[in-house]
Amino acid sequence: MKTIGLALGGGGARGVAHIAYLKAMEDMGLKPNIIAGTSSGAIAGALYAGGVSPGDMYKMLESLFSIKKRSKVSLIKALRRDNVAASLAKQFLSRSLPKKTFEELDIPLKIVTTNLNTLEEKVFASGEILPALMGSIAFPSVFVPQQVGDAYYMDGGATNIVPFDIIRKECDVLIAIDVSQVRPNTLKPNIKNALHATWAATQEALISAKLEKAPVEIFERPTFEDVSTMEFFKYKDIYKRSKTHIPGFVEQLKKVL
């Protein structure tokens, strides 16, 4: 029996797609033997490895984001204040995580963050899950970085947006789900897009450099051109559209197994 490694990438709201892929694997009767996650991929990974089914994850999204239009606006406003966003996320995660430490998980999990002091990737795989998760999702300018010990940790997406390389040696079949959507189709060269353009270019270069050393069996890149990182309210649409990628994914998975 081949062992499966699953790398769930970061990409904010687009990470909803991970649920569709997990669901597809569940339907095939497959369970990954190891999971690595960054940012929203780390959330999906921590929930799944703790025993939450993809169906229940989707229900969590529904309860979080099915709000009437008017309250949406105030929630967005609240979310814009970083401390509010962080404490809301923390509250939700500490309530939803079925297992509190890495050691208790059903499936081994690695969570990627970026150490803001050394500017290097830091992988968490033992001890408490919540601080690691809060670091991993600390998207610059939206969430405040998470302090653990003397160091500050932020979004793992800065150093490893789709963390397949860190589990390459621990599985036979490696699946990477990239929802970073590094390069939108229309990125006009203007000041507003300046950060985005360099960021996207760096991420692309980093992913391809990593693929050279750690090739994967399946690399999925569902695209959602019009979904930006923080648009969690589009979860329904994102989920529906990710499902269109599933038949192809299932086909590939059958082939490699």
Partner: protein, 261 residues
């Protein structure tokens, strides 16, 4: 037969000036490279180096520029009007053309490769023929600061986002490959703010990229240069940047001498 030396110069804003200290140290030991690559400020340094300018010439070049003080406020109205970037790189290119003695790749003292990136595709662009000026201008066109440079109908920007220390592109052209990576200094135990988190994310990504590339491309010596107490915009402190790096650069030159034996 003597070994061929390749040097890759990274770009990281003002810290990139530290590369001049390394050139100075190599000059002292009469070591000359056979091929050089560069991006960002590293591209400017590489182009001047290959055009026959000495480290002193480069320092003179910096002295000539009247850098605006780092405290000078940016004109907000100007930013509002700026469609592509706060500055137009044309002035920079013109100045470069005026100062640098050799302006065509073919006539340089040794070959160089200049790394930039295509704005639209995010792909790496390597310049190694034709005019050097537009290549250098493209390589320093940091999005948001400079307008991307239009070359053959394509918008070209700073290459440090796709290849912060472009050693891999000259690996096959030399026996001994060294890379100089000027890095941004982060204080220890600092409390992050929005600016440091965003710039930290970019710097961390670039650092990860250089590390990742070393996994599939062997570098004989990778020199990380941390310039204390300077930001990426502190071009006005060029003298301090060079001076504070000299000791490390001296050791580096000895190391290179050893590698070439």
């Amino acid at each position: 037969m003597s070994k061929k030396l390749g040097i890759a110069f990274g770009g990281s804003g003002a810290q990139g000036i530290a590369s001049i200290a390394y050139i100075k140290a190599l000059e002292a030991l009469e070591i000359k490279p056979d091929i050089v690559s560069g991006t960002g400020v590293g591209a400017v340094v590489a182009a001047m180096y290959a055009a026959g300018m000495s480290s002193q010439d480069m320092i003179d070049f910096l002295q000539e520029i009247n850098f605006p003080g780092s405290k000078r406020p940016i004109n907000v109205n100007k930013i509002k009007d700026a469609k592509y970037g706060i500055l137009d790189g044309l002035g920079l290119e013109e100045y470069y053309q005026m100062v640098v003695p050799v302006k065509v790749f073919d006539r340089l003292y040794f070959p160089i490769k200049i790394v930039a990136a295509n704005w639209a595709t995010g792909q790496q662009v390597v310049f190694d023929s034709g005019d050097v000026g537009p290549a250098v201008r493209s390589a320093v066109s940091i999005p948001g600061v400079f307008m991307p440079n239009e070359v053959d109908g394509e918008m070209i920007m700073d290459g440090s986002c796709v290849n912060p220390v472009p050693f891999d592109i000259i690996r096959d052209d030399c026996d001994v490959l060294v890379a100089i990576d000027p890095q941004v200094n982060e204080e220890e135990g600092f409390a992050p703010n929005v600016y440091s988190v965003i710039s930290g994310a970019f710097n961390a990504a670039k650092k990860a990229l250089a590390v990742e590339k070393q996994k599939s491309c062997k570098v004989d010596h990778f020199e990380s240069v941390v310039v204390e107490e300077t930001t990426a915009y502190d071009f006005a402190f060029y003298y301090e940047i060079i001076e504070s790096t000299e000791e490390k650069a001296g050791l580096f030159a000895l190391k290179v001498q050893d590698l070439l034996k």
